[in-house]
């Protein structure tokens, strides 16, 4: 089983995940734009079995459009969010793909909240697209 480590900018908060992500997706919603400061968020979902967290984190809770409560964990020293979870889904952890610092990380296959997409962004046609 492959192991990957996601880290914040300063390296104090790290998460180790086992196996391959079962979903890698891009989200254009305004909350993801604000959280990342980029024009979309890209998340990889892993089964949380074998998850190992090292370092202190601050939690930020945000309730999504559909009522789901998400808990984001970021490094209090540098601010980078390294993982988040959704209430009621303890078996899944979402990792912002940038935290792996790996340009060869598996490509996303899904793009959501496309009505918020910056017009200049081209999402590959083979992705699954959700308005």
């Amino acid at each position: 089983v492959s192991t990957r480590t996601a880290s914040c900018s300063c390296g104090r908060l790290k998460v180790e995940v086992q196996g391959e992500p079962f979903r890698v997706s891009v989200c254009h919603c305004l909350a993801c734009q604000k959280r990342t400061g980029s024009v979309f968020g890209e998340q990889a979902r892993f089964h949380s079995a074998g998850l190992k967290v090292t370092g202190a984190s601050t939690e930020f809770v945000r309730v999504g459009d559909e009522g789901t409560k998400f808990t984001f964990c970021f490094c209090p020293n540098c601010g980078a969010t390294v993982y988040f979870t959704a209430e009621g889904r303890d078996d899944v952890v979402a990792i912002p793909v940038g935290a792996f610092a790996d340009p060869f990380f598996p490509s996303p296959t899904v793009s959501v909240y496309e009505h918020r997409k910056h017009a200049w962004l081209r999402m590959p046609a083979e992705f699954e697209h959700d308005p």
Partner: protein
């Protein structure tokens, strides 16, 4: 003159900038990937004056070429809203996503393009640099 406000996720930390950005670009360096959690940073440079509202935590990172960048993030939600470069009080770089505006001006430059995730497509005419041109 138009003004724009960028905000963190929870709204505690905001910056108001005036006029149009001096430049808009994306950066795919690994440090920008880790800071944003996305696969590149989108940044807009604005000239002073600018106004900051709320409390920020500072995080300093020294770039590949020795420049000292001072990032300001919200201690409540973690969003990095803007950064400045030590010694330059005339310019501020604001995270484009913090404007939450899908019609924000298009990036014209891509730096650290050598680290760009291969599925990311740039707008036609974007100037690319393998690393940082400055």
């Amino acid at each position: 003159m138009s003004s724009r406000t960028a905000s963190c996720s929870c709204g505690q930390l905001r910056i108001q900038v005036e006029g149009e950005p001096r430049g808009v670009g994306i950066c795919s360096c690994l440090a920008c990937q880790q800071r944003t959690g996305s696969v590149f940073a989108a940044l807009a440079g604005f000239s002073a004056p600018f106004k900051v509202f709320g409390t920020a935590t500072e995080y300093v990172r020294v770039g590949d070429q020795g420049a000292k960048f001072i990032f300001r993030f919200c201690p409540v939600c973690g969003t990095t809203v803007f950064h400045t470069e030590s010694g330059d009080s005339e310019t501020v770089s604001v995270a484009v996503g913090a404007f939450a505006d899908p019609a924000f001006p298009v990036p014209r430059v891509s730096v650290y393009d050598s680290r760009r995730h291969p599925w990311v497509q740039l707008p036609p005419g974007t100037r690319t640099f393998d690393k940082d041109p400055t």
